[in-house]
Symmetry: C2
Subunit: 225 residues, 2 copies
């Protein structure tokens, strides 16, 4: 992680700071941290805690959970413009969730630490509303994950994942391992491999080492609905 | 569902109303609904919407999700003293979660509809904080469910469920069907039956029609850790 110099005003970057007085905004600007993370670098884990409001300006973050043996599941991703409120903060003191965050690609974020932000949000109820709104948005995303895990059969979830990644990367050739898909979906590599083999036999994809090519996206999409 | 007469003051029932002025509390009291639900009655579904702050005074509510084909998973339960903030409310307008709520046994709740509550919470930031705190608590419970589904093997989840139900009902003889356990854990009846058969062979439980008896709770608990 590398500290960067501020390259825009917080008022431009955070619409939710729109109505703050200049003094408050000045103090928030003084505490704000601009950071660049390398691809696959940890943004938040046991060693790297960060606390406050974070906004992605470039790149992509992945928010996930992990168990002791390293098994993972992705909860949601944050794209440029997305904000999240980091846990362990006094803004959110009852949230005992153990999310981890990593940069999936090179990513630039602005972090507003809790210290002064908590003070300002006490004086600006509309700001506090906005911060709580962000938490609720993440809540519905996590609920969506529950719904997916419980109610969607794995082939549907894999098809959805492949289409999403193809859109995201703007290519039909995905350099991705079965292990990575398993981590994302909270499944086992063997399960993923079996279903991808079935997709291949159905003529929906082709596979070579660490590469999956979507050759019939229309029919792959039909797996989803 | 049956409307009941108020049997206590809101200030006693809701500590979070502690600092409200008498006029505000009076108006909230006028809008408050005391309701009794029968066992297995729907508290919130497509037909029965309710909107606002709800507190359980007696009984037990189950909050769950359901898909089109009727498959279910329990997200959390609410016991006497527990409160929840109902979705679809203007307090929580970004929450697009489709939770359903049912009374598991005869249950009495107090519902404070959103209409006037939203107005009061604008004037009392500490009240709004408390409402948001309730949402965040439910958020961590849903996150816990994700962790369970993804990371805990089904035998562990079933053992945990049986112990929990035994504590809740204060008996080692549970009148419960495999189907009900499957609904609670978001699994299939066949999966539950197979694992319970294994528990039986291990001498942890005995089974007869719709009855599961925990005969070796100590060793069943060891399945959990």
């Amino acid at each position: 992680m590398k500290q960067l110099a501020a390259s825009a005003s917080l008022r431009d970057e955070f619409p939710i700071f729109g109505n703050l007085d200049d003094a408050s905004l000045g103090r928030l600007t003084a505490t704000a941290l601009w950071r660049r993370y390398d691809a696959h670098e940890a943004v938040m884990n046991q060693e790297e805690a960060c606390d406050g409001l974070m906004k992605v300006t470039q790149g992509r973050l992945r928010v996930y959970m992990q168990n002791e043996s390293g098994k993972e599941i992705t909860l949601y991703r944050l794209y440029p413009g997305d904000a999240c409120v980091m846990t362990a903060s006094c803004l959110l003191h009852s949230m005992q969730v153990d999310f981890l965050i990593e940069a999936e690609i090179e990513t630039i974020v602005i972090l507003i630490p809790t210290t002064y932000l908590a003070d300002v949000s006490q004086r600006y109820p509309s700001l506090k509303d906005s911060l709580n709104e962000i938490v609720r948005l993440r809540f519905s995303q996590v609920t969506w994950v529950v719904r997916q895990i419980v109610f969607s059969p794995m082939p549907v979830r894999i098809a959805e994942f492949l289409i999403e990644q193809s859109t995201l990367r703007e290519t039909n050739d995905l350099l991705i391992s079965h292990e990575e898909i398993a981590s994302d979906l909270g499944s086992a590599r063997e399960v993923i491999s079996r279903i991808l083999k079935y997709f291949q036999e159905e003529g929906l994809i082709t596979q070579s080492r660490r590469r999956i090519s979507l050759i019939d996206k229309e029919n792959l999409k039909k797996k989803i609905v």
